[in-house]
Subunit: 257 residues, 2 copies
């Protein structure tokens, strides 16, 4: 395979919902690409420019999608791989580097650039206040490449460290029971009154926010479009008279000047 020095690969995220969260860098990449590659629902959110080729693919074929993108870039195309959210957080960037590692030796020297973006946990946090205002961790429940024992180990460690926890992909098709198992574990390690947020489709027309407690949470509320936030021991609510409370985590131990 010949490598053309003018080919490029950009890995870009659309943000969690509205294009109002798309950075100018990402917008430029989308506008200048010759070829756009992504899971079909993401490409459907883009209005292609004249002359652009769209390569829509199914879900769960990330490595094949990444290989196609690398092949096109090696042929001299200006390729944009499109995910949701931030491409570097539980999205396409890692899949592209896996494909590079397993693929043609020349692929690592292609002109490759990842554009950071807004991830789902950030949109969810902003919507309800500032639950990620202090130390936190992010765990994906969906990955069928990861044994459940590792998910359990990480959930336990996250409780031991008293982190705020952001759960991604809580109800994937491959592992629909994961969120129930996660909540069973969390309930043995965290207080019943720990604040919980189910943030579904934040910023989109079908947005739904549920603020509850670990004791009262119904794990089945989480579908594939939901980001789940679990508070630390200092995460708290601020009541409002007209609407749902704010949820936030103080910057320190809650002791402020």
């Amino acid at each position: 395979m010949s490598s053309c020095p003018h080919g490029s690969l950009r890995i870009v995220g659309l943000g969690p919902g509205p294009l109002d969260w798309l950075t100018p860098e990402a917008e430029t990449i989308l506008a200048e690409a010759s070829d756009l590659i992504g899971y079909k629902p993401y490409l459907d959110r883009i209005t292609p420019k004249p002359g652009q080729t769209l390569h829509a693919s199914d879900n769960r074929v990330e490595i094949e999608r990444a290989r196609l993108a690398l092949q096109l870039a090696a042929e001299g195309k200006s390729v944009a791989v499109v995910s949701g959210g931030d491409p570097g957080i539980f999205a396409m960037a890692a899949a592209v580097f896996e494909a590079i590692e397993q693929g043609e030796p020349t692929w690592a020297d292609l002109d490759i650039h990842v554009a950071p973006g807004v991830s789902a946990m950030q949109a969810a946090a902003a919507k309800v206040g500032a639950p990620l205002g202090h130390d936190f961790c992010a765990i994906s429940l969906s990955d069928n490449l990861k044994p459940w024992s590792l998910v359990e180990r990480r959930l336990k460690a996250a409780c031991e460290g008293d982190f705020v926890i952001a759960l991604y992909n809580p109800a994937s098709k491959a592992r629909p029971e994961a969120i129930y198992k996660a909540f069973t574990l969390l309930r043995t390690h965290k207080p019943a009154q720990t604040p919980i947020v189910f943030a579904r489709a934040v910023g989109r027309p079908d947005e739904r926010i549920i603020i509850t407690t670990l004791a009262e949470a119904e794990p089945g509320c989480a579908d594939m479009s939901t980001l789940v936030l679990i508070g630390s021991s200092t995460t708290r609510l601020i009541a409002r008279t007209q609407t749902q409370p704010f949820v936030y985590t103080p910057r320190g131990m809650g002791v402020t000047s």
Copy 2:
């Protein structure tokens, strides 16, 4: 204090560096505010519109800054509180909610909205590849409201969970020794060959990226503008012939189709 229904408070981040990472939502907020409040170096990055009032303040007076913002919003002003990065991640959003909790009872019912943004760990990750491609946690070393014992507890838990770790504020003035103590702890819990990234001022003219190992890392490389990334057991490098390697963390256990 009388509350005017037309006042509003928006909490916005500029992203880690160039305005190329500022979302359209954040740009609109900055353009429409009557009053912009923030740490002076952040306000210096904004070109104010005619009629806008800028309230620049020193560092480490977050609560006073938040109170001023709330007072102005209660008086009917359209206030934008400006931080770097994502305001919800180790930035001003949590301070504003602390000030609401401690302040006038009417403040919780003001029109308050947090705009999500790109945080430093995301810019750093994108710059080097996809180190945050799998489960990770974010820990601030700077907060002088947090006892060191809690930092240690969280670092140990992060190692136990084999998370990728993003360290914010590794060398604050209040705690310059923190990064040395953190590395001493990490070296007893993680393999010597664990990839380490010191990502300084990503996207800015004085950007500097160091990719090394836990054994060889010099903690003093981290200054107040540095984000430190510490790999998990699966984080790895991909060599390139002309430049620094990529750093990435596979989506699962490194076993891919």
